[in-house]
Symmetry: C2
Subunit: 405 residues, 2 copies
């Protein structure tokens, strides 16, 4: 069986007309002798409306009931898709997670798919039916409805692709694919034809909102080829696959940038073992995510300057926690809003000398000052003044020959 | 266990504020050491919105998916009620029909509850929890969601009362109870404190829209005491129970009337055996419901006049069917719109002589002509001109001492 998983996001099923369109897309695979397994999100707006109701009922809405509540959104979307396929003469039915079943572990609102029973769906596929499966949810061992915390319906799609050994998992969404940088910010941004999981992971965690990092990681671990494409335009999307599956002639795959970062510097910290841990532990406990960290080597061996970045929203809480932390000593606390992290990502950079130099030089030419640097095997990130973000992206996009011709 | 089934209709859970109110009502039973089993309909408007969507997808929407679609409405309402109870400190959870399970037989959109498994709900009640159960639905033997055709959530409530041997089944709705006649039409209408199943059945089938006849019949067969009351006002409602449970000092329990009736008369029909069957069979095949039927004895033994009533909506179809029916011969077909059936209902009338006379006399005094009469053990119905309906109700309501003091 040539199984393909087709996942439709909330905007793709956001109206009756769009659901009719989705049925036609599914039909096009069916005609090509594929066996589609369809996963759908709730119609856009529906989940938010249900969440609004939950908040009006209680600010501490029971998580187990929250899952019962919001999971109804996918149920509605799936029944409409299945009925529409039936209307155009194709055998189809909705499969709710308890009917399959899809078993999850972990807490309500934040469960993770543990296993998917295959027999019923396989039998249904063999009979020529197209199953429409509710994304974003499952049931736990107590037969209670759960929802998947991170990744949502994408995570459902990837796990279905894994359990049914699908040739490909196609994520239909409201963008045409993954771009070299945000096309809303840079007109010259180019759609990427193929990208490795690793690059996509960096792109995703650094701000490209196409897919949740956790889902890409799941796909990578299970070697599932993902295609991200638009449900509105008939155009090829972006294939996300393993590095070896394609010839890479680009050093840099893309450029991403963040919004709303803030920089914190502790000047004159006593340079003793364990001091960084003492600073970061209470932040972590308060769910404050520390991103880039730089510690200068101290000249006298007694004091050091420690710099790190956090989200601007966490700045006030961070200030309070650090000032109230009696386990650490420092001379001065510097806080700086309006910084931005710009990153270049590409598996090619490890084998290409001089990438770092080219990045720094092209920023220097534009008089952009680099405040913090962090690097990994496949990316280099720099922290700069927020006002320079666009200028930096334009310069780097050109430098690494990413501009659309 | 003092089990009581509490059923809330769509308007009773029609907004967040009303759901909060419903949680308080449930709490009042909980405080009185009852073990409430709650059944809820969908929030008013939700089901209609889903049905609208289904029609936009297809005029022949797959019935099995229709049930998946509309059953989501009760799921939403139940999760909100359970979470609200939890918010005010009471252990509660939603129970979807597949979780219990509630097993149905029959076709989609028109299923009937076959059995309700008791163990899980009993265990939950013993632990002190309040189960909030989705009305109007179940699952079939193939584990597919079904919805209950007639009676809806009322039927669910009555079956739950039966399977859990509840002391009482309380139907919370947007009216205060059952009235001697429609209070919107007659100010002097009085709320009935207690009424027998049989009277209520006649009242329901004759136009009182409080409950579906099929649910009252189920309650009668299983001897379940029903109380119909308002979820908006703290007032006693109407108890529906068996005749022996109360002293009946009223000859007549109530008066009902119909709208949109039409009268059909076939003049000069050949009076042979089987002629009535030949007339009514094709009507029945076309789902045209024939209500009152009167056949005059023919003077010469050869011809007769046959009169019956139908809904006005069916009048044109009925005309066509009769005129196209080659198996029957008649001289003339008379059609009359704008007639109304007025009925007096009461178990007391069989043991009280002169009820029929009193009814006819009081109508005659008002110069209201009776066109057709039909009677049963506990009711007398007359067909009159529609324009006289209100006048007739006022006269009869007074004659049988039903007027509110």
């Amino acid at each position: 069986m040539k199984i393909v998983v087709l996942k439709f996001g909330g905007t793709s099923v956001g109206s009756i007309e769009r659901i009719k369109n989705v049925a036609n897309i599914i039909n096009s695979y069916y005609k090509k002798k594929y066996k589609p397994i369809v996963v759908s999100s709730a119609m856009s707006g529906v989940t938010n409306d249900l969440i609004k109701k939950s908040k009006e009922i209680s600010e501490n809405f029971l998580p187990s009931e929250y899952d019962v509540l919001v999971s109804s959104g996918e149920q509605i979307a799936c029944s409409l898709i299945a009925a529409r396929l039936s209307h155009i003469g194709i055998r189809s039915r909705s499969w709710l997670s308890w009917q399959i079943p899809i078993i999850t572990k972990g807490n309500h609102k934040n469960a993770k798919i543990l296993s998917i029973y295959r027999k019923k769906i396989f039998d249904y596929l063999k009979k020529g039916g197209i199953p429409i499966i509710t994304g974003f949810q499952g049931i736990d061992v107590n037969e209670r409805i759960t929802t998947i915390g991170r990744g949502g319906s994408d995570a459902s799609a990837i796990m279905l692709a894994k359990f049914f050994k699908a040739e490909r998992c196609i994520i239909y969404t409201d963008v045409e694919g993954v771009y070299t940088t945000d096309p809303n910010k840079l007109k010259k941004a180019r759609k990427i034809k193929v990208i490795s999981y690793e690059e996509m992971l960096e792109m995703a965690s650094l701000g490209a909102k196409v897919m949740q990092p956790v889902s890409i990681q799941d796909a990578r671990l299970n070697r599932i080829n993902i295609e991200v494409k638009s449900s509105f335009k008939k155009k090829p999307g972006t294939l996300i696959t393993k590095r070896k599956n394609f010839k890479n002639n680009k050093i840099i795959a893309g450029i991403s940038s963040t919004q709303n970062d803030a920089k914190v510097t502790l000047v004159g910290v006593k340079d003793k073992p364990g001091v960084a841990a003492k600073i970061f532990k209470p932040l972590s406990k308060n769910s404050i995510n520390v991103d880039m960290v730089v510690q200068n080597v101290s000249a006298n061996g007694k004091e050091t300057d420690l710099t790190f970045t956090i989200k601007t929203d966490d700045l006030n809480r961070t200030k309070k926690i650090i000032e109230g932390n009696k386990e650490i000593k420092f001379r001065k606390l510097l806080l700086k809003r309006n910084v931005s992290k710009v990153s270049i990502i590409g598996v090619g950079m490890v084998t290409t000398p001089g990438v770092t130099f080219r990045m720094f030089q092209s920023l220097a030419k534009k008089n952009i000052n680099i405040q913090v640097i962090s690097t990994s095997e496949i990316k280099i990130s720099v922290l700069i003044d927020k006002k320079n973000t666009k200028k930096a992206i334009i310069a780097l996009h050109k430098e690494f020959k990413l501009d659309n011709q």
